[in-house]
């Protein structure tokens, strides 16, 4: 990096040195982004880049802000500061139609599945195709069955949602998230509720999709073995900031206390078990007349 001009202040020079240079190949680029709800900051100064064809795992304990990160990336939550770009376009201050256009290039697997309970398995997976494409019914059927086949549920296409188990429902949601072959796919806890066999298949499917379609995958999870097996890069968030990042191999060899505690699942370490005190809690305590 070139030296900053002398006219820059020391603070500006520090900012320039620490800010990441935008990568033209990045489909998702967080540059010193701060996220939160109201007065509460969930993640500070987050810098994260996802390139096409790459599988990125975002890991962290419960409530560490992993899902908040996804909500910001999909335009559901505005950022507090910094710069967030999806497909090279800044997400700050863009209109509804532009967000819609960007979202058409994304796929999301929701934590709870968010399947449409009035539709059967087949129609749930077909839903994005029917809404966004002009495919004929036989073409839709072929595509849907291919995707259901990929998650092992081809023969469950006719079932109602009330007739499938929780694990099967997550696999249906996975098929729906990828049916349009998006360029960027977010998987929010894709392994939750899956049996060991389905978990392995789901992990390999995510890797295979990224390799085959060249799509970028962001896997939000706290499942270490499965995500380390398929991820190119792993980001670990906690205590309101990015704690570590790197390849699975480099993180496995990390001596950082936080990383070690998270990967080893150790009860003692820097990860706080207690939920942090927030301004809202302090206000609540004040109203109740108790000490925070």
């Amino acid at each position: 990096m070139t030296s900053p001009p002398e006219s820059l202040t020391a603070q500006a020079a520090t900012d320039l040195a620490t800010a990441s240079v935008p990568d033209p190949a990045a489909v998702l680029d967080f540059n010193r982004v701060t996220l939160g709800y109201g007065d509460f900051t969930v993640l500070r100064d987050l810098t994260l880049t996802v390139k096409a064809g790459e599988v990125v795992a975002v890991m962290g304990g419960s409530g560490s802000g992993k899902t908040t990160l996804m909500r910001a990336a999909t335009g559901q939550l505005g950022i507090k500061s910094g710069d967030l770009k999806a497909f090279g376009q800044s997400m700050s201050g863009i209109g509804r139609l532009e967000i819609q256009r960007l979202r058409q290039r994304m796929g999301v697997l929701f934590q709870q599945g968010a399947l449409f309970t009035d539709l059967d398995v087949f129609e749930n997976v077909a839903f994005p195709l029917r809404e966004h494409t002009r495919l004929t019914d036989p073409e839709v059927a072929q595509k849907v069955l291919e995707n259901l086949d990929a998650v092992g549920l081809r023969a469950a296409a006719h079932l109602k949602l009330s007739e499938v188990s929780g694990g099967m429902a997550r696999r249906v949601a996975l098929a729906r998230a990828i049916v349009r072959e998006p360029e960027l796919v977010f998987y929010d806890e894709p392994f939750a509720g899956l049996d060991p066999i389905s978990m392995g298949i789901a992990a390999r499917l995510i890797r295979r999709l990224s390799d085959k379609l060249g799509c970028a995958s962001v896997v939000i999870t706290h499942d270490v073995p499965e995500s380390f097996e398929i991820a190119d890069t792993v980001y670990i968030v906690g205590q309101g900031e990015l704690k570590a990042s790197g390849t699975p191999a480099s993180l496995k060899g990390s001596t950082d206390e936080y990383v070690r505690q998270f990967l080893d699942g150790a009860p003692d370490g820097p990860v706080a078990f207690d939920y942090p005190t927030t301004p809202a809690f302090e206000k609540w305590c004040q109203a109740k007349g108790v000490e925070p």
């Binding site: 819609q100 994005p128 966004h132």
Partner: protein
């Protein structure tokens, strides 16, 4: 409570109601702007007409029949005092077409279809289904709410017409079949006295207005509710209460506008 406190409470309440009114108006405009869905995807609307309308037919028909029975009986007792029982058909028809048809149908509609709409939208919200649609670049107001809004507006006048028709049959059963009023007098008085524009059309206009009001309230409550079981439950209750009051209030205003000289 001090005077300042009372004034403060009134001000707070008024401001809150104005905020809600503004939100409802904004929501209404958003719905109207997306009503073009009826031309692009009419099937979405017909499905809702079926769900909202056809599934309400039984309760509407049975209620209409019993209201007709009661009107026949009460009308006969009153008209008989003046020797005017031959005008029973006219009384039953005017009561139903002008007032009871649109109003009672709207109240039943709020209880049957309005609550179901609120609960459905609220549960979709709680299950992240609406958020999922947004992330899939699908506008939930256009895809989910607008077809239901149009379905409610189309279904309401049809249901009100069914209610009035069945009610008239109920009045005929009581007046002609059970009491023995001349059937020719029953129908001819009705034909003579009921005006298509003044009575029938005004009744239809009322039911369309009630359809807009009830469906709007039901969808708004579902859209705005807290995504929890308690939130959905409260929203469903609010739908019935608010719809009933708005229908009765609107009925007074519309009646004053339509039938005053």
């Amino acid at each position: 409570m001090s005077t300042t406190g009372v004034l403060g409470s009134i001000g707070h309440f008024t401001r809150r109601q104005l905020v809600v009114l503004g939100q409802v108006t904004r929501f209404f405009v958003q719905l109207v702007m997306r009503c073009g869905v009826i031309f692009k995807r009419p099937r979405l609307v017909t499905q809702q007409v079926h769900f909202i309308g056809v599934h309400s037919l039984l309760i509407i028909s049975v209620s209409g029949l019993f209201v007709g029975f009661v009107l026949g009986l009460q009308g006969y007792y009153t008209l008989n005092r003046f020797g005017a029982e031959q005008a029973l058909g006219l009384l039953v028809a005017l009561s139903l077409v002008r007032e009871l048809g649109p109003v009672v149908t709207a109240l039943l509609f709020a209880g049957r279809a309005g609550t179901s709409l609120t609960a459905e939208i609220g549960l979709m919200k709680a299950g992240e289904q609406l958020a999922a649609m947004e992330v899939m670049a699908i506008d939930p107001i256009r895809r989910v709410l607008a077809p239901r809004f149009l379905g409610g507006i189309i279904a309401m006048p049809v249901l009100a017409a069914v209610f009035s028709m069945v009610g008239i049959i109920g009045g005929w059963i009581v007046g002609v079949v059970l009491i023995g009023i001349d059937t020719g007098a029953f129908w001819s008085q009705m034909q003579e006295g009921v005006d298509v524009l003044d009575d029938v059309l005004n009744g239809v206009i009322k039911s369309v207005v009630f359809g807009i009001a009830v469906t709007l309230i039901a969808l708004f409550e579902g859209w705005q509710c807290k995504p929890t079981p308690e939130g959905v439950s409260r929203a469903t209750t609010r739908t019935v209460v608010a719809s009933s009051l708005v229908v009765l209030g609107l009925d007074f205003v519309l009646t004053a506008l339509m039938f005053s000289n």
